[in-house]
Amino acid sequence: MTTEAAIRVQGIAKSFGNLQVLRGVDFEVEAGNIVALLGSNGAGKTTLVRILSTLLTADSGTATVHGFDVAGKPGDVRESISLTGQFAAVDDVLTGRENLVLVARLRHLKNPGRIADDLLARFTLTDAGNRKTATYSGGMRRRLDIAMSLIGSPPVIFLDEPTTGLDPQARIEVRQTVKQLAGQGTTVLLTTQYLDEAEQLADRIAILHKGTIIQNGTLAELQQLLPAAEVEYVQKQPSLEDVFLALTGDPREADADDDRRVPAGKELR
């Protein structure tokens, strides 16, 4: 058992009835890297993340996370990971602080209260910490969700479409958070359908298409495959976002008026 690759996936296949979702996925993630798993809806991104986080068993193939086999040592894998799923997995009835304390207790850590307060401060949620999360905006829920995933400093973090359904400002907040993680040596596997997100955040990008990884490399390597088309697409895409953000204000000041934003429930469906 070697640990130089934080995630190693070999020939993973998974079907649901007649639907073959994953048909032999192979790839590796180096420790400390942020890797974006890019793919359209239904490409199998979530299925792969669920297998790697021990929520689902593969039909065939092997996968190790932090050196532990996901099928053979699921308990050790769970000690080494945290998962932020597609829909913010926070307890609506509890406050933000209580959510963090709950996770810290379940990870059997000492001083759960202090851990919660530190994270609230780090994610600029201190003022909202004693409010029920049902009152949070979509961006705040996501930030809390990611904060909950950081408790206990797991070496590998799975973020399954962390920005899907968020407005542009909230999306930028989440991206800034993910970038901060990179500096601390955490391995992050991020799934997304936003091309610019993969471009901004990831050290490497793997493209999952029809159940297999069809390309895997750095942005520069991928750009060499199709230089012209890539550049044109990227130039058009951000322009509308730039206009939107310019019209609606600087996202970095958004924390101040979190309360006035769209209620969280709207973005969940």
Partner: protein, 254 residues
């Protein structure tokens, strides 16, 4: 991992108890229907019912009312479990290094606490309405033990419903037959007054033996064989429901 089972169950039970504290209406609504039934039976219908015993009617029917209270209270367990599954929180727990059984046990223990509170409220109202018992501490402990066993057995049925429901309504619909069962038992009228086939069903379904046992304990009469039939039913229901629930849970998380 299993060494944390008790601690994890405690932490998760604390979480769902907090849910109840923040919506205490779940405990009150659980108690409202049985209290209304009790008022109806004691002050409207009870005068015409001949129980053949010297006990007051409120004494006669309280055991059945307590079972109805619990049967309606456990529906909230299915509801809360269903909501956990719908939101992402269930998956978050599953991807964490916690004892997996603790997720279900936390809901079962929460149900037990909530139902004991509801039952206490109903007994309080019954005392105001004239319920009297000479039961000693041992009798009360025996009644509590039977009610706890009844709650836990029915809650595991609720866990099955919560795990397999497709909609919120489906998650709680299973409890209606359970609430209805005490009506076709010795809870409100003597089974001898029923037509033969109905009386046969009433005499041989679990509620009658449980009601008779509790009634005898409250009245400090000899319990007879009823307690063993009641315990056999309760342990049997508990074992089957638990096995079913755990099988469904395993299938769900594998």
């Amino acid at each position: 991992m299993t060494s944390h089972a008790l601690g994890d169950t405690g932490v998760l039970t604390g979480r769902s108890l907090r849910h109840i504290l923040r919506s205490p209406d779940t405990i009150l609504t659980t108690a409202v229907t049985p209290v209304a039934l009790m008022l109806l039976f004691v002050y409207v219908l009870g005068g015409a019912i001949r129980t053949g015993s010297s006990e007051s009617y409120v004494n006669y029917m309280l055991p059945g009312i307590l079972l109805i209270t619990i049967a309606s209270g456990i529906a909230y367990t299915a509801y809360r479990l269903f909501l956990d599954l719908q939101g992402g929180i269930f998956e978050r727990f599953q991807s964490m290094p916690i004892a997996r059984s603790s997720v279900l046990w936390a809901h079962v223990l929460t149900s037990l606490v909530a139902n004991l509170v509801s039952v206490t409220v109903v007994i309080g109202v019954a005392l105001v309405m004239g319920f009297r018992t000479g039961a000693n501490v041992a009798n009360w402990l025996a009644v509590a033990g039977i009610l706890i066993l009844f709650t836990v057995a029915l809650t595991w049925i609720a866990v099955i419903a919560g795990l397999s429901a497709k909609t919120v309504d489906g998650a709680s619909a299973f409890s209606y037959p359970l609430i209805f069962l005490p009506f076709i038992s010795s809870a409100f009228v003597p089974t001898a007054s029923m037509p033969a086939p109905v009386a046969w069903f009433a005499q041989n379904q679990p509620v009658t033996s449980i009601v008779n046992t509790i009634r005898a304990l409250f009245a400090q009469q000899s319990i007879g064989g009823d307690i063993w039939i009641a315990l056999a039913w309760l342990v049997g229901i508990l074992a089957v429901a638990y096995a079913f629930a755990v099988t469904i849970y395993r299938r769900k998380i594998s």
